[in-house]
Every structure is written in C-alpha cells, then in structure tokens.
C-alpha cells in the first residue's frame, strides 16, 4: 500500500482566488515537547534563510521535558520584520491535544497542515486544510526505532516545503549544517523530506496564497541565538574563567562556552585548556568562584537567570564593595520566584541595578539582539576591568534562546582593556602603594594582582570598611570617603558604557524608550504607526548608568513612552530617577505575559495612549 493510496488528495479551500502572499507569513508548528521537532523547525528556518528570505524562529515551550504542548513559530518577512506575530497564518498541527485550540486560533484565510490521524476540527470553511499521512510516510521509510519521532517530524517539512515552495536543496543545506556535515543523519532525514514532498506533489492541490520565492535579503546576515553569541563574545573577550549553575534559559550560554572553548582556546603547545569552566553547586558559589577568579586577574564570568540572581545578592555586594571585576549574565525569565522558567520577561532591571544591601549601584548592559550579545560579551570584560566592578548583562529568553536573523558578529576593534593594574616594577618606581587611593580622580584605584612579586604589592581584599590601603577601618571619614569615591566611579562609568541607539522620523513628537528584545516589535510598530500618520522617534537604551543622550531625548519629545515587558514599569522608574524634572510625563506602556512582544500590541498600546 502506498501513501498515495491511503491519503487521498483533499484540500478544502475557502477561496482559491486570494492574492498571493510571498515571503510574508508565520508558520506555527504545534508539537509535543521531547518529540524532536527542533530539527524539523530548524531545517525550515535555515532553508528559508538560505533562500534569501528574512526569517526568525520563536519557540514557545513548557517547563517540562516530554509530553506537553510546544509551539514553534517561524516568521518569514520580506520587509525584515521579525517579531512574533499575534496569529500565524499557517498551522502545522502535530499535537492532538491542542489541535482544536490551534485550529481555532487560525485567522480566516489561514492554512492548516494536519496529521491525518486527526478527525475532529476539520470543519472550518474559511481556512485551507492539508492532510499529512505522517504515520504512513514513517512506516514506508522504516527509520531506526529510536529515531522514529524525529523522522516523523521531517514529514511535515517535506509537505510544507512542497506546498510553500521551499527548495529541497536549501533544506539539504540546512540539514548539513544541523548535523555538522554528517551525511548519514542528513540522508536519513532528507529521504523523509523528499518522500513527503513527493507525496504532497502527487496528492495535494495548492489552494492557498502563501508562497516563498528566492530573494537576496539575508546576505551578510547570520542566524543565531543570543546565548551562543554571548558565549562567543565572552570567548573573543578572552574569558578565562566561567562558573555557572544550570538554569533555564541561561544554561545554553554556559553550554555554548563548553562547546566552543575546546576548539578555540586549547593551548597549541601543550594541548591544555587556557580556560576553566566549572559547574558550581549553586549560583552563590558560581558567583563566588567568579569573584575569586576575577580578583586573581582572570577574565571571569557567570551566567544565570532570576532565581540564581537572587542567590547572588550577597556576592554582588561584595564584588561591588571590594571592587572586583566580574561579568554576570542574567538571561531573564519570568519572575518573581521560580515563576515561568520558559517564558520571557524584562523583570530584573531594578533588581540588577541595585542588587545587594546597603548603597550598591551596578553597571548593567542591555543587549537588544544576538549581535550585541556578542559585542557586550567581550566589552563587558573591558568595562569590568576598567571600572573594577561587577558588570551585569541582562539578556532575556527571547534573545537568548530564540533564533534571530542578525548582523554578523564583529571581531573586537580594539585590544583588551585590562584597566588600571600596577606591576612589581610600577610599584618599585612609585615606592608606595595604596589599593583604594583615587590617584586619577575618576574614582578608580589601581589594582595589583596576587602573585605580584614586590613586598609592597599585597593587600587584603575585604567586604568590610577599609582605608585607602585596604586595612580595616571604622573611622567615619574613611567610610564616607570610600563611598564617595565609589559614587564617583559609578559616574565615571557613564563615559564607558555603550550609548543608546536612536532612530528618528521627521516631525516626531513622540519618543519611545525601551531596552532589549522589545526592539523587533517596536520598530515594526513604528513603521505601522508612521504609515498611519504617527511619526515616532525611538531610543534603545543599552546600559545603566544612563548616558547624556537619554535625558536629552526625553527633553526633546513632547510625549515619552517607555515600552517594556514587566509588571511594575521598572525601566520607567529608573528613568524617572534619572530625569526627575520630567518624571511625571514619562509615560508607561507595558505588558508581562511571558511571550515575545508583537508589533500589533505596541501599536495598539501607543495608539491608546495617544488617544486613538
């Protein structure tokens, strides 16, 4: 029995005469997690990308290992708008548990590819249905038993490719990349794709408007997730010590370090590692280890998410006060508490800025895409060593774990900045040394590194009150002077942190301020708003402390809205403190539902504020 026989062509279509929609749609693959659909989805994304079509992939997955619903959304956009969309036009339905709901979510005119075992929910007359004889196709291919589930997913790749016009060659290329050029798995998977495509060609009649067409809008771009980019950034920033503790969505950052370091940072002479990565027993220990290593002079980092950040509060305060360079990545997920481990949020802005009891004030970098994760990956070390302080980098699940089409990772344009360090010779020449003396008036003292072979080089680092020579002191003047110097230092930081990214439209009276992954949706919304006649300027903040541009931008605009993804309007709060003169007119537009932002929501929210 051939698959053709068991699955008769059947494509109910509401209106065959719709105008074609080329390279502009979202596909959502509804699967069960742990069923291996990742390979299938990656193949589609990479194939589209290699056909020159801007594309993004966003995975909505449960905090669970196997058996619960997962939705993977692939957006193709000729215009390069790659935010999540509120509805996907095309559904690939592989999960019986969510099928009815998934079908309901399709917009009129939508398309539904479904595993032909489903029998209910096939009654919407305003969408196009395509059955897929997944089980039959799998049976025909006879894959090894433990790979059945994976291979089954390739069936939808083939059917969808056939109906949308994705090139099989592009899929082969995508698989080659995925399987690191190992031909055996590539062939196994590709055979299924081809069989499914052939079946579709023979049995299905194209009756929907969605199509892809080769284009050239991805050249010079790369497809990468932020955690991988961050790890690479750290490596090209010379990370020599990383300690971490597993936590979603940060684990893949440390795991990428472990993947890439052996190839990039093995000493050719000895075959030994020029780095150390330690899986610590918890996040407190992870940061503690990184603080020890940073104090020693290594480029040290840790990476975590909300709960881990909470555990780091005490060490963050120590690093701030003892002035130890260390880099802390927080790939934000939904909090408070354990919250939603697999949902995105920008909820740690306030906490990271002030973390630790007493008067702490931290430097925070805020990448907006994987390219910046790379850039801040190395710059964070320069900053940490220049400022002798912990530097927090706040990414989020959307940037960190989803696949972004983004600018290539640019090799650092300058040598490493190791900051102010005195050698034994320097100390010999100076004839004196005081660790915490503000010789340059910028609040930053000179470090010596343990092992410096000079009798005057050593000091005892501490979290307790101290004088300029790091000796314990309870004298009120010593304490006050030290805190004032630290304050100067946080001011000094302003001149070193990355400036915001500003984009202006002629005649704009409205200014939109935001950070991080809001970018995609916000820029798309600005286009929509502009088309509707509302010109807006945008300013994407990339660091705290804020730089002068921020207050200027606020001053320059009649109406300011801070667009952010948390409940309390944390960025707005931080801006109100930065620009108290304007505090009352800094508007807030916020959402915190765990999903990557959509342009539609931003547009509607701004419209509502602007009175329609």
């Amino acid at each position: 029995m051939t698959t053709a026989a068991i699955a008769p062509a059947r494509a109910a279509s509401p209106s065959a005469e719709q105008a074609p929609r080329i390279n502009d749609f979202s596909i959502v693959a509804a699967t069960v997690n742990g069923s291996g659909s990742q390979t299938a989805n990656m193949a589609i994304i990479r194939a589209l990308f290699r056909m020159g079509i801007p594309v993004s992939g966003k995975n909505l997955f449960p905090s669970n290992i196997q058996g619960l619903p997962t939705w993977f959304t692939i957006r193709a956009s000729a215009d390069g708008h790659l935010a999540r969309q509120e509805t996907a036009e095309i559904l690939v339905a592989m999960n019986p548990a969510t099928f009815l709901e998934d079908v309901k979510n399709l917009p009129p005119g939508g398309v539904c590819f479904y595993s032909d075992q489903f029998t209910d929910g096939l009654d919407r007359s305003d969408i196009t249905y395509y059955p897929m004889p997944v089980q039959a196709l799998v049976r025909e291919q006879e894959p090894p038993k433990d790979l059945r589930d994976y291979i089954a997913n390739m069936a939808y790749v083939g059917v969808v490719a056939q109906l949308l016009g994705i090139e099989i060659e592009a899929i082969r290329g995508a698989l080659m990349t995925h399987f690191q050029n190992k031909t055996k798995p590539v062939d196994l998977n590709l055979r299924m794709v081809e069989a499914a495509a052939a079946w579709a060609k023979a049995n299905l009649v194209k009756s929907d408007p969605y199509r892809v067409r080769r284009d050239n809008r991805t050249s010079g771009k790369i497809l990468v997730d932020g955690n991988t980019a961050a790890a690479l950034g750290a490596i090209y920033g010379g990370v020599s010590f990383a300690a971490w503790y597993p936590i979603t969505p940060a684990s893949s950052l440390a795991e990428a370090l472990q993947d890439y370091l052996p190839q990039l940072r093995t000493d050719p002479a000895t075959g030994r590692a020029t780095y150390a990565v330690i899986q610590a027993e918890d996040e407190m220990a992870a940061l503690g280890m990184a603080v020890g290593a940073g104090w020693m002079g290594a480029r040290a980092m840790t990476s975590t998410s909300g709960p881990g950040l909470s555990l780091m509060a005490e060490f963050a305060g120590l690093a701030f006060f003892a002035e130890v360079p260390v880099v802390i990545w927080d790939v934000q997920r939904m909090g408070p508490s354990t919250g939603l481990p697999t949902r995105t949020s920008q909820g740690d802005l306030m906490f990271a800025r002030y973390i630790g009891h007493g008067d702490t004030l931290h430097v925070v970098l805020l990448p907006g895409n994987p390219t910046e994760c790379f850039e801040f990956g190395w710059k964070a070390f320069d900053l940490a060593e220049r400022l002798q302080t912990p530097v927090f980098v706040l990414s989020d699940l959307d940037i960190g774990m989803n696949l972004w089409m983004t600018d290539p990772l640019t090799y650092p344009d300058r040598p490493m900045d190791r900051g102010k360090i005195l050698t034994a010779d320097d100390i010999q020449a100076l004839g004196t040394y005081a660790r915490y003396r503000d010789a340059d008036g910028d609040g930053i003292g000179y470090r010596t590194l343990p092992g410096t072979e000079h009798p005057m080089a050593a000091y005892l680092s501490r979290g307790t009150g101290h004088d300029e020579e790091a000796r314990y002191s309870e004298r009120p003047e010593d304490w006050t002077a030290n805190m004032e110097r630290l304050w100067r230092k946080t001011e000094t930081a302003r001149q070193y942190v990355p400036a915001p990214v500003v984009d202006r439209l002629p005649g704009a009276e409205v200014g939109l301020i935001f950070v991080g992954s809001v970018d995609l949706a916000l820029q798309e919304a600005r286009h929509q708003l502009a088309r509707e006649g509302l010109a807006t300027d945008s300013l994407r903040i990339r660091a705290m402390p804020f730089t002068a541009e921020v207050t200027n931008f606020i001053e320059q605009h009649d109406r300011i809205y801070v667009v952010e993804m948390n409940t309390d309007g944390q960025l707005r709060h931080l801006l109100q403190l930065e620009a108290p003169a304007h505090a009352a007119r800094i508007g807030s537009v916020r959402i915190n539902n765990g999903l990557p932002l959509t342009a539609d929501w931003v547009r509607r929210a701004i419209r509502a504020e602007e009175g329609g």
Binding site: F241, T274, A298, M416
Partner: protein, 343 residues
Amino acid sequence: MAVDTATVNRIGLEKGDYRGLPTTLCQGCGHNSISSQIIAAAYELSIPPERIVKFSGIGCSSKSPAYFMNRAFGFNTLHGRMSAVATGATVANRSLRAIGVSGDGDTASIGLGQFLHFLRRNVPMVYIVENNGVYGLTKGQFSATADKGQVLKKIGENPFLPIDVCQMAMNLGCGFVARSFAGDPKQVKELIKAAFSFEGTALLDIISPCVTFNNRDESTKSYNWGKEHAEPLQDVTLVPAREEIQVDYDPGTGSSVELHDGSILMLRKLHRDYDPTDRMEAVRVLEESRSAQVLITGLIYFNPTQPVLQDVMHQVETPLAALPEASLRPDAASLEALQADLR
C-alpha cells in the same frame, strides 16, 4: 649586605617578613597561636610570602589573615563563602600556594555546603578550621561543632550532635585529614608545613579555644579539656625535600609519608600503631574519638593519589590570570570560520 643566616631562612627572609598587622583578637585566643604557627611554618619552609595567597570567611578566626604575612595577598570574603572564592582564585592562578582560615561557624554552619563541594573538587589549599565550638565574633552562640549538652552562658544547652569536619572530609574523599590543638604549637606547625607540601585540599581541624565565650573546663573546645584529653596519634615532623632526613626510627617505632614536593612527614609512633593511609582505620578512629570523647590529634588520613581540580580540568600550567591577550583572544579568521555555520 651580609645576611645573618641565623635569623633568616633559605631565601634570605627574616621571620618578621612573614608578620601581619597586630592582632585585634582577645588575648589568649587560640586563633592567635595558630597565626603564629602559620608564620613559623611558612618561614621555616622558606616560601616567599608573595607566592602565598590567603583566604578567609567572616568571624574572629577569619580576621586572622590580617595578622599573618602582610606581604601575601589575601581575600577576607563573606561569612561561609571562603570556599567558592578560593576555588575561583586558585583555579585562576595555580602557581600560588593557598591557605584558608575559617571558623567552625563559617565552615560547619553557614558554609557547610560550600565546604563539602570544595573538598569534593580537591581544590589545592591548606584549609584550616579554627574550631572553638562557638561563634566568637557575634558573642557566643553555638556553632554546628558544639558538643551535645554543652552549655553556653547566653544561650543555654546545645541539644544537637556536633558536626565532625574530619568525618565529613573523609566522606568527600579528602586526601589530607588532620586534627590538632592550638595548645600543641609544635604539632600545629608541623602539620601546617606538611599541608603546605601537599597537592590537594589539606584539611586541618584545629581545636582553638575561645577564651572569652567557650573556655570552661567541661567544654571539649577549652584549653584545659584539650590539654587533658589530647591524644596525638603520632609525633609529627616535616623534613623538607631538600634536607637530609635526620630522624630514623627503629623498626616499629615510626613511619613516614611522602608529600608531593618530595618532603617527608615523619610519624613517630606514640601509644599505638596507626597507619594514616588506611581509610577504614581512619573512619574507625574518628568514630571512636567521638564516642570515647578523646581528642585524637595528628595526621588522620593521607592519600596523595587524587588529581587536583586544575589537572582534572586539564588547565595549562601558566596562571590563567597571567595569560597574554594572544592566548586569550582567538584570531579574527576563527570567528569568520565559525560564522560560516550561522549563514
């Protein structure tokens, strides 16, 4: 300048070169006497103080790194968190010799988890627990090593069994487990010297009386109790690698173990035969010491075969902290190459 060999060590330093700031601990505090022995050990071993790095947590005991070896760098970290900082620091620079001083509260109460994971990783460091069964710096509450039934003025009676850090270390596979008593300075010093010569975590649980809050005679952490109940397993003497061994025991009256740097720790037999390389024997002696309420001191367990963390991780010998930019930052071509996969 002629060097007076009587008052300088092999590298030409005087004992004063190993001094710290004046102590601010109570007069008679056991911790002060341990600081003196740390100074003496480093001086006698002729370790350049700049090649030593000191760590501590928070507590009276943890203050002591300020009171020895001013010329050594140090990090007085957080309460109970010395282990993590020392792990990162020694991994970042494996060329320095590390010594950590902690208290029983610091190690066995708040720091217990980190302490055990530190042991499990075999981080090379001399780890001294200055064990007084009490929180000195916060004025006399029970720590987790306080004896069951012990009475403290402020708090009353302790109802819980003490945590034995040596037993813990045995469980975690530590290769150098010793116990001593601040009232026996010679033993303290020789054990510290041996520990400095050991590659791996060397745990020294030193009973170090708190004269202010826990020195009543019935406390097992008091001077008098220690003096009356201390039972050294051996008389220990470290013979550094380069010195000739002077002591030679008659058969059956002593033995020795060799440390990683070639020094020999001579173990002169006292009351009984004891083989510190026998694991079950060590476990037994600790159980016994606990139930019989004697203070067994000396080298309890010795196993030099386990690799240190840095070797487990196949690290280069060069301190990671000292690697030049050329070793730290891969070249531009490599970045281009790996991005090919992302296109």
